[in-house]
Amino acid sequence: MADDFESFVRARMSALVRYGYVLSGNPHDAADLAQEALARLGERWPRVRATGDPEGYVRTTMARLHISWWRRRRREHPVRTVPEQGYHDAGLLAADGDTGLWRAVAELPPRQRVVLVLRYFEQLTDEEIAHELGVSRVTVRSQASRALEKLRQVDNFRIAELSGR
């Protein structure tokens, strides 16, 4: 584990910005999320470092920030415009991802999106997610259920694209 804060940032920044991309769906918000969460970690570094899991602290902070920032931005920009096509669609497809599903995830409300990321990317249990986000387990399940229901309606772009449909 890194000896000091600067070393930790340099060692983990790439993974954290990538995690921000999974959370937010765009590279600018990803960098902002990681930067703000790391700055907050820096303010509490000795204490968090003593817990032995500073990266977990940063990831939790990023997930919460993503939800709260979106709330604020929603007040400022009632209509959220989702680009027709993310500019990493080709890479996503090559990496065995599903571009249609990825776009649909981007359109989910942030709390639903964060729940899905924690559940299917971080592999956390619903109880752990509830603890991370400060909500009840029932809320986690209902958010996940609603999100999955929407995603089930999305065409399987990967199959469509691979088959030339």
Binding site: V17, V22, A39, G42, E43, A95, G97, R152
Partner: protein
């Protein structure tokens, strides 16, 4: 309709992680700048409070406020730009080479210490926007920390297995001197009459050891054995850490930002400070439920009012019109003289907290203003373009 949406989702999220764009090369420096600015904001009062105290020691009498204290009315507070227009300074949006920068300190005489992106700090003249490089030898290495004492700028740079420490007079006119190599990180430096003291930490697993050194140009750092376990927090004032289970040495007790409800129901005691130069020990007197203390002054809450008082219990001042949600957290930061204090409140959860009130209070005149930005060393970032409030201009 998908048959295995959960499997598709797990695969797609992993793919998104794999193809996500990498961070910009300057990402670590950006984080360091933000962290340093916030740490500077927190320590502004602590570090600089030394100034007033030293003045008391050196010159006998310093009057921070009129004998008859003026009550500040937070309910009628205007924007700080209207309250102290003489202190508002517009600085250039960017420096030479189109560099972004942060304002770290107001040094007086219209001079600011600023930190350009990915470059060593420079002095910026507020009226002419001219910059002057510090004479310091930064050796092209990452700046790790710096401190501002009554007469010097000190800084440390990353070096093999530790930090190299330097000092230069604040006016920038004299050459920087090399104070030595410390085999630790997280360096804080204090100075008195040309003698420098530094505390630095070494980590062993989850334990943190603090060590203290006496530094002088041309001499090897001398460990101060009686300073083991102490961390400099305010000029020459250090606090002793709190023993951790199983730890040989100590992590200084963190000063959490308490909710006001916690302040009211579980009042905190201020720590005992040890002056590494004089050997004096001092514990600020408690006059109300403490929000924050320095060796010079404290701010607290009592019966619906914000209260400030000098560390010895004198000069108690109470405010009116200060209201806040009891669930919110409260914190206070002092200017270098202890005259100004920024009092802010924010929603309770640290990870996504939002500021709910932010005031700058002049304890000498009772004036109070609202602000958006944060306080660094004698300067407030107004969070509008590159305007700052230079507290050294306020008479």
């Amino acid at each position: 309709m998908r048959n295995d949406v959960e499997g598709d989702l797990a695969r797609t999220l992993q793919a998104a992680f794999d193809v996500a764009p990498p961070p910009a090369p300057a990402f670590p420096e950006a984080v360091t700048r933000i962290r340093r600015r916030r740490r500077r904001r927190r320590s502004a009062g602590l570090t600089g409070a030394l100034g007033a105290l030293l003045a008391v020691v050196s010159f006998g009498v310093v009057t921070l406020r009129p004998a008859a204290a003026v009550v500040a009315d937070f309910a009628q507070a205007l924007d700080v730009r209207e309250v102290w227009p003489e202190a508002v300074v517009s600085l250039p949006a960017r420096l030479y080479g189109n560099l972004d920068y942060t304002v770290e300190a107001a040094l007086g005489n219209d001079t600011f210490l600023v930190q350009p992106a990915e470059r060593p700090p420079v002095l910026l003249i507020g009226s002419t926007w001219q910059t002057r490089p510090l004479d310091g030898d930064f050796r092209d290495k990452a700046l790790s920390s710096y401190d501002i004492t009554a007469h010097y700028l000190t800084w440390s740079t990353s070096a093999d297995s530790g930090r190299d420490v330097f000092a230069q007079p604040r006016d920038g006119d004299a050459a920087a001197v090399y104070l030595g190599h410390l085999p630790d990180t997280d360096v804080s430096v204090a100075e008195s009459d040309g003698v420098f003291y530094a505390t630095a930490s070494t980590r062993h697993g989850n334990d943190i050891d603090y060590h203290m050194y006496r530094l002088a140009a041309g001499q090897a750092p001398v460990p101060v054995s009686s300073g083991d376990g102490y961390a400099l927090v305010s000029g020459p004032w250090a606090v002793y850490g709190t023993p951790q289970p199983g730890a040989a040495n100590r992590l200084p007790r963190p000063w959490p930002e308490p909710s006001l409800a916690r302040v009211l129901t579980a009042p905190r005691q201020a720590p005992t400070y040890w002056n590494v130069v004089t050997g004096q020990r001092m514990t600020p007197v408690r006059r109300a439920s403490i929000i924050s203390c320095t060796p010079v002054a404290c701010v607290g809450h009592d019966n619906g009012s914000l209260v400030s008082w000098d560390a010895d219990g004198s000069n108690e001042v109470r405010t009116s019109g200060f209201t806040m949600n009891l669930r919110d957290r409260a914190d206070a930061f002092f200017s270098s003289s202890g005259r100004f204090v920024q009092v802010s409140t924010s929603t309770p959860r640290a990870a996504d907290s939002e500021v709910t009130s932010n005031h700058l209070w002049d304890r000498a005149t009772g004036k109070v203003g609202t602000l958006r930005g944060g306080m660094a060393f004698n300067v407030v970032d107004l969070d509008v373009d590159k305007s700052v409030l230079d507290l050294t201009r306020i008479r």
